[in-house]
């Protein structure tokens, strides 16, 4: 093969590889963006009404259920949620996410022991959410609350489980 022909071949192959790489790079951003970004959007869905504050007894946690409107892509769905709410001496409120921070099981308040206990792996928490026993890597997850015309409003969120830090899922 003549020297000229060799360098012509090289030029052509480099051009082909360059254009293919360019097209791949240009498409990588929008294609992976459309595939991935909508999945990473937060799930903050506004305030939900979790019932009246009137029948809350001080230092007696209550489980409250409510419907939360969740946006899922192009649809708005109603999901049933529950939270544990504690009314404090100073009338402030603490709301706990219903899932044990270990692996997500639903825990309950045991009035006789004054403890929250998780039925899965035996995590135990006090009324302030502090871990007293078991594998839970962090205290119970608190949710934002406020009181509006005597009704408890909750900003419901879901958190990543099994890790020491409290991060929104």
């Amino acid at each position: 093969m003549a020297e000229q022909e060799v360098s012509r071949r090289k030029f052509m192959i480099r051009t082909i590889v360059g254009i293919v790489a360019f097209i791949g790079a240009v498409l990588a951003v929008p294609f992976s963006g459309l595939g991935i970004l909508p999945a990473l959007r937060g799930n903050k869905a506004g305030w939900s009404d979790a019932g009246t504050i009137q029948d809350m007894v001080v230092n007696e946690p209550q489980e409250r259920r409510f419907m939360q409107i969740v946006k899922s892509g192009w649809m708005e769905e109603k999901e049933e949620r529950s939270v544990w709410i504690v009314r404090r001496q100073d009338n402030s409120l603490t709301a706990y996410s219903p899932n044990c921070p270990h692996l997500g099981c639903g825990y309950r308040w045991f009035r006789e022991d004054q403890r929250f206990k998780c039925p899965c792996h035996g995590s135990v928490f006090d009324i302030n959410g502090k871990v007293l026993a078991g594998p839970s890597p962090r205290p119970l997850d608190t949710l934002e609350t406020r009181v509006e015309d005597g009704r408890i409003m909750i900003q419901y969120e879901v958190f990543q489980l099994g890790i020491a830090r409290k991060l929104v899922a």
Binding site: T15, I19, V26, V29, F31, L34, G35, L37
Partner: protein, 440 residues
């Protein structure tokens, strides 16, 4: 490292031999800009598959959700509008390129022995591409989608003897609805992609077996001059692919795919028009009317397909030069000119329904109607409650004056009515009345 990996494969599956057989495929007469269409089609098809797979992530093929999901892709999902724009314009590119590819093969006489089977597979591929285009635009479930599919499927219904049954099979029932959308989605995303991939692979594989046709005059020159497929022809292919790709992303960014209002089967004011690449079929249906309609819907398309299938078997003259195939070239010229003229006339076809210009006060009235809960009792075009009278055509039975008096005190105008007084200002009542008047 890379060489060692190739060595590993080569030891087992002789990958170097496979590649060199492919790459060194000779192009008789040398590489040419005329031969790029096949590769460009493969490229656009890959883009259609990738963008289609991404769109399917956020698309729901049911009449309840299709429109909302496409709207979500178009307005909310990041890069959604861009990817949908690529898919939309990519479809047009496929239609144009497949036509150019076929024309080039025809002019160069490349369908002749020994490439008859390659041509036959190509005829199948053309129909698959058309099928993609047709089934694709029902999916957004907007006005254009709905009405183009109503007309398109009714075309199947005009076919003699089997038309009635065929129409039902295509639609999945007597009427266009949920099952039609499922069917079209299934055809568009399962049946056609697999068929196309199978046919296209065979098309390329058999072309490699039979050898590229190359220039029509090469057999006269000795020794035969040729260049390899890679990198010589692939270089030219890639350059064209580069420019087509730039054009495609510009179109996707600056001219996003349209999305019309949601499909409304009761709307008689809409002017249904197909996508531009079906204008020639659309125009054909306007020419053949009444008892001749079947000529446009069935006879001509069937003749066209049969002619394409039989072409390499009827035209067995080994001569490939277009200059010595005057009859064939005249025929090709006639088809190209006819399709172009039909497309242009089709595009300029007069619109029957004058587009309704909605005045600001009608729009304001419509907003008031929605906001004040009128739909709880009244319905328009089947949407709303059943307690009060249907208002779909209220504009043709009640005048403005009556409407306003009625809003202010329903019982004074129609005794015994349970409608509550409408608590709005005089200006707002006037707008609401304008909206009612527009419903005819």
């Amino acid at each position: 490292m890379f060489t060692r990996l190739i060595d590993w494969f080569d030891e087992r599956i002789q990958i170097r031999k496979l590649w060199s057989e492919f790459a060194n495929n000779p192009i008789p007469g040398g590489a040419s800009w005329f031969y790029v269409f096949g590769s460009v089609l493969v490229f656009i098809f890959i883009l259609q598959m990738l963008s289609g797979i991404l769109l399917a992530l956020y698309y729901a093929p049911t009449p309840d959700h299709a429109y909302a999901s496409v709207k979500y892709i178009e307005t909310e999902a990041p890069f959604g509008s861009f990817v949908r724009g690529m898919h939309h314009w990519g479809a047009s590119f496929m239609m144009v390129l497949v036509a150019l590819h076929m024309l080039q093969v025809f002019i160069f006489g490349a369908y002749k022995k020994p490439r008859e089977i390659v041509w036959l597979l190509g005829v199948g591929l053309v129909m698959f591409v058309g099928g993609f285009a047709f089934t694709g635009y029902l999916l957004p479930w907007d006005q254009k989608a709905y009405w183009a599919t109503v007309v398109g499927t009714n075309v199947a219904g005009t076919i003699p003897v089997v038309g009635g049954i065929l129409l039902k099979i295509v639609r999945g029932g007597a009427e266009l609805g949920n099952l039609t959308l499922s069917r079209f989605f299934d055809i568009h995303t399962y049946i056609l992609p697999w068929s196309l991939v199978l046919f296209a692979s065979l098309h390329v594989f058999l072309l490699e077996r039979a050898g590229a046709a190359g220039a029509w005059s090469w057999s006269e020159k000795t020794p035969v001059y040729s260049e390899p497929l890679f990198p010589h022809q692939m270089f030219k292919d890639t350059i064209i692919i580069f420019f087509i790709f730039l054009l495609l992303i510009c179109l996707a960014v600056f001219f996003p795919a349209p999305l019309e209002p949601q499909a409304d089967p009761t709307d008689s004011t809409y002017n249904p028009r197909p996508e531009w690449y079906f204008y020639f079929v659309f125009q054909l249906l306007r020419i053949f009317e009444g008892k001749y309609e079947v000529v446009g819907t069935f006879v001509l398309p069937t003749v066209a397909v049969i002619s394409l299938v039989l072409l390499p078997f009827l035209d067995r003259n080994p001569e490939r030069s277009p200059y010595k195939r005057k009859i064939m070239m005249t025929l090709a010229g006639f088809v190209v000119v006819t399709v172009s003229i039909l497309t242009i006339i089709g595009a300029r076809a007069p619109i029957v329904n004058t587009p309704t210009v909605t005045s600001p006060s009608v729009l304001a009235g419509r907003l008031l109607y929605d906001k004040n809960g009128c739909t709880a009792c009244h319905s328009i075009h089947g949407k709303g409650g059943k307690i009060g009278p249907d208002l779909t055509h209220v504009g043709s039975t009640r005048d403005r004056d009556w409407l306003i008096r009625h809003f202010k005190n329903p019982q004074a105008v129609s005794p015994g009515s349970i409608m509550p007084k409408v608590a709005l200002s005089d200006g707002q009542l006037s707008e609401l009345a304008d909206y009612m008047q527009s419903l005819r």
